[in-house]
Each structure stands twice: as structure tokens, then as C-alpha cells.
């Protein structure tokens, strides 16, 4: 489930770079911990965020949790399918359950994120 071409945060977000665009979601570990996801409060297209800003809120049956921006950027696309099918995040957190895309984004900040290997080690420790 942890993909090698993807960056990870300690808050269990992932970010995948594709040219000048970056796709953001939550990790399998995060969706597992949240349980059944009932609502994804998608950010507005055009929203500018700094790294660690609250990007959106995900609700499960029991609670609401913040998702933070892994790096700074501007939201250029959101996964509209989550509006009626938020369970996609449970089913494929790093596939069809992606949340939004950034363009542009702060590529220099990628160095501060974890690689797949580092994230695996981080999960093992926590």
C-alpha cells in the first residue's frame, strides 16, 4: 500500500508528484484508524495553503479529523467522486480515494517529507 514514488507526512498524508502537479490524500494507515468515512469536506479550487495548514476535514462515523497540507500549494482539482462516495478513501486511499491536487506547489519542501521507506519505519516505531 505504501508507494515508492510518493512522499509521506507524520500526520499520515501522502503526496505524489507528477510534473508540476501534486496529488494529496491520506494513507491506508490513516483511513484504517478513522474507520468508516462518511464525509470529506473537499477544499475549494483555488485555495492557497501553507505547509501544515488545515487543508480539509474528514469525518468518520465517530469523529471529525483535520487533514493538513503536506507542502504549500494551490488547490487546482478536487476528487468530486468523494462527495457521494466518501468510502472510496477507505477502499483505495492511495488510488481512487485521492482527495485533491496542488498546482503550483512548493517542490523545495519535498525534502522535508518522508520517503516510502522512512514512512514504513515511522509506522513501525509508532
Amino acid at each position: 500500500m505504501i508507494q515508492n514514488d510518493t512522499y509521506y507526512t507524520k500526520e499520515h498524508e501522502w503526496l505524489k508528484v507528477d510534473g508540476d502537479e501534486a496529488t494529496v490524500g491520506i494513507t491506508d494507515h490513516a483511513q484504517e484508524a478513522l474507520g468508516d468515512i462518511t464525509f470529506v469536506d473537499l477544499p475549494k479550487i483555488g485555495m492557497k495553503v501553507n505547509a501544515h495548514d488545515s487543508l480539509l476535514v474528514i469525518e468518520s462515523v465517530k469523529a471529525a479529523s483535520d487533514v493538513y497540507a503536506p507542502v504549500g500549494g494551490t488547490v487546482c482539482a478536487v476528487n468530486e467522486a468523494l462527495g457521494s462516495a466518501p468510502e472510496l478513501v477507505n477502499q483505495a486511499s492511495q488510488g481512487d480515494g485521492w482527495i485533491c491536487k496542488f498546482r503550483p506547489f512548493d517542490a523545495a519542501a519535498l525534502a522535508g517529507l518522508m520517503t516510502a521507506e522512512q514512512y514504513r519505519a515511522f509506522l513501525a516505531e509508532h
Binding site: 474507520g35 468508516d36 464525509f39 469536506d41 476535514v57 469525518e59 462515523v61 471529525a64
Partner: protein, 358 residues
């Protein structure tokens, strides 16, 4: 004070099933097994079972048992027949709700009280100290276990697994049966579905649970129990009910309408006369973003109440909840808003229950 949560006789079974365990009112309890929504739907369409061993069970026996309970509970115990259960409240003198509970009448001199997990220690002291002399009080919470089997297929499954036909019992009726020792089955529950609550010797509980598992009955956790009871419009002590309110504010005065005096009856009568400053009401929000306990209810741009429970409803595919609101807003059809801290959600006050089994 930090004490390790207590374990029910089914703790090992839950861990084996891969349940996510949490500390609930001082007990290690399963919040979910394969997922709250799956467990919720399974209860609505098929059958599930719940570990409810954490709840309190008290036997009240003796010639003056009925008189003692009549004085302590809002429940009209004098109107009860053998084999009947009734919902009611335990109140303080000032009418504050100490607990909501179900009273079982085996016969005039033998009664069972079933109370909430988090309140059972306080209830035990409160009741024991106030029973008339000669009435025996036994806390059977450890000796007796409890499993709820709920869902449209619950009754035939209970019949095939335990050989007891609960389908001949009316709603809120119970009978004793033999389950390798004394046992009780009642047509009650906390889900709004058909089903039973089973009281069996604690030592036999793991075996009974396993027999249901082998018959294909899957367990459901506290997460589904909460969404199910919410849809059924049932209050949860600590959320909708507390010492800070009387049954009048809870809009449940029909359960405290007994004309004979009981502990708290004068206070309830006064409150009834004055009218409540806040009333409990159900609300519905279209969409998926949930209102949660503690959030403000707004009307005309000002605060007019507080949410006590709120969740996405898996059955209704909308958000439902309870809130204390100003009495003028408690009428079904009234439009209010809930301030989630991020935005205002349009809510409408609706009649309870939110969901009724077909």
C-alpha cells in the same frame, strides 16, 4: 485516580475477532469489528449480537420489594404484570436524572433492574441505601452476563441456538428459561429492531456467544450500537440525559407521570408547572457533514440550544441528532442551524423516532 478498565467475560472473544477495543465507562469494550456501517446495516437487515455485560444488573427481592421500588423509581411498578419490563428513571430529590433503567417484574417479590454501565456504582449505593428494611439488594452484574441479539432475523436465530421461542413474547415482555442454569430472555433492545436481551450466568456467556457465532451471527460493537439507538430515537445517558435535567426537559415526562409520590416527584411536578427552559428535540440535516455533541444550535442568528448527539445515519443517508433547544423551537418542522465551528448547517426539527423498523 486511574484504574485499568474492567473486562467482560467476552474480552478474549473480542480480541480474537480483531475488534478495536476502547475504554468505555471504565470497561474494555469493542467499538467495532469489521466496520461500524457494515455492523449497522447487518443489524437492520439480518441479525447481530452485542456484548452488554458491562451494564449493571440488580436483583431486588422480598415482601416489600414492590413498595420500595415504587418509592425509588418513576416507573409505575404497581401497574406491571409478572413477565413484564418497563422503562423509567431513577431521580434525585431535585428531579435530576441519576439514570434511565429497565425494571423487570418476575413476581411481586422479585424484580430485576438493568442500569447503565457508567452509572452502576452510583446507582447501587443510591438504591441500596434507600430500600426499606427487609428488602434484599443483590448486585448480580458480575454473576450474570448479558448479550443482546438484534435484527429482523434475531428471534428465529435465538430459537435455533438456545431452543427458546421468544416470538411468543410481546414487546417488553420476558420469560425465564434454562440455559444450563437460570436465564432470562426479554423482547427488548437498544437498536429499534426486533430482538432480545439475554441474561445468562457469566460463566456460560463465552459459550453462548460462541454458539451464536457458529450459527452465523456476527458481533456488532459500540459504534453501531450508538448509530442504531440514535436512529431509533433512544436517549443515551451522559448525552441526552444527566443529573442537570429532569424528565420534563428530556421530553420524556410520560415515563415519570406516575401519580403516587416517588423520589423527585415533587420537583418534576414543579418543573411541569413552570415549563422547561430547554427541551430535547430530534433534528435532521440533509447531506453528510455531521453535527456533533456540544455544537451550538442557532435560530434567528443567536444561540438557542446545544447538540447532545449527532451522526451520519447509515440507514437514512442523512445526518440526525438530538439537541436541547428553546421550547418554541422544539416543534417538528422548525428550521434551525447548527454551528459546526467551520460552517452553519441547515437543520429541521423532526418527530422521533428517526427510523422505525418496517
Amino acid at each position: 485516580m486511574t484504574a485499568l478498565p474492567r473486562k467482560t467475560p467476552l474480552y478474549d472473544a473480542h480480541v480474537r475477532s480483531g475488534a478495536r477495543m476502547v475504554d468505555f465507562s471504565g470497561w474494555f469494550m469493542p467499538v467495532q469489528y469489521d466496520g461500524i456501517i457494515a455492523e449497522h446495516h447487518r443489524t437492520r437487515t439480518d441479525v447481530t449480537m452485542f456484548d452488554t455485560c458491562h451494564m449493571g444488573r440488580f436483583w431486588i427481592t422480598g415482601p416489600m420489594a414492590r413498595e420500595g421500588l415504587d418509592r425509588l423509581l418513576t416507573t409505575d411498578v404497581n401497574a406491571m404484570q409478572n413477565g413484564q419490563c418497563k422503562y423509567g428513571f431513577l431521580l434525585r430529590e431535585d428531579g435530576g436524572i441519576l439514570d434511565d433503567l429497565i425494571t423487570y417484574r418476575v413476581h411481586a417479590e422479585r424484580w430485576l433492574l438493568v442500569v447503565n454501565a457508567g452509572t452502576q456504582d452510583r446507582d447501587r449505593d443510591w438504591i441500596r441505601d434507600r430500600l426499606p428494611p427487609g428488602v434484599r439488594f443483590e448486585d448480580a452484574s458480575v454473576r450474570m452476563g448479558k448479550i443482546d441479539v438484534q435484527g429482523p432475523h434475531a428471534l428465529p436465530r435465538v430459537a435455533s441456538v438456545l431452543g427458546v421461542d421468544a416470538s411468543r413474547l410481546g414487546y417488553f415482555r420476558f420469560m425465564e428459561f434454562d440455559c444450563g442454569g437460570e436465564a432470562i430472555v426479554s423482547r427488548t433492545g437498544y437498536t429499534g429492531e426486533k430482538g432480545v436481551e439475554l441474561y445468562v450466568a457469566a460463566a456460560r456467556i463465552p459459550e453462548v456467544w460462541e454458539r451464536f457465532e457458529k450459527a452465523g451471527v456476527k458481533p456488532a460493537g459500540l459504534g453501531a450500537r450508538d448509530t442504531l439507538r440514535l436512529e431509533a430515537g433512544l436517549p443515551l445517558y451522559g448525552h441526552e440525559l444527566s443529573e442537570a435535567i429532569t424528565p420534563v426537559e428530556a421530553a420524556m415526562d410520560r415515563f415519570s407521570a406516575k401519580t403516587r409520590p416517588y423520589v423527585g416527584s415533587e420537583a418534576v411536578k414543579r418543573r411541569r408547572g413552570q415549563g422547561a427552559a430547554m427541551l430535547l428535540a430530534g433534528f435532521r440535516i440533509e447531506g453528510r457533514q455531521a453535527a456533533r455533541a456540544g455544537q451550538a444550535v442557532m435560530a434567528g442568528g443567536r444561540r438557542a440550544g446545544t447538540v447532545t448527539s449527532g451522526s451520519f445515519s447509515p440507514t437514512l443517508q442523512a445526518v440526525i441528532g438530538f439537541a436541547f433547544v428553546e421550547p418554541s423551537l422544539a416543534l417538528p418542522g422548525t428550521r434551525v442551524q447548527v454551528d459546526t465551528g467551520r460552517n452553519l448547517l441547515d437543520a429541521v426539527v423532526v418527530k422521533l423516532p428517526f427510523y422505525k423498523a418496517g
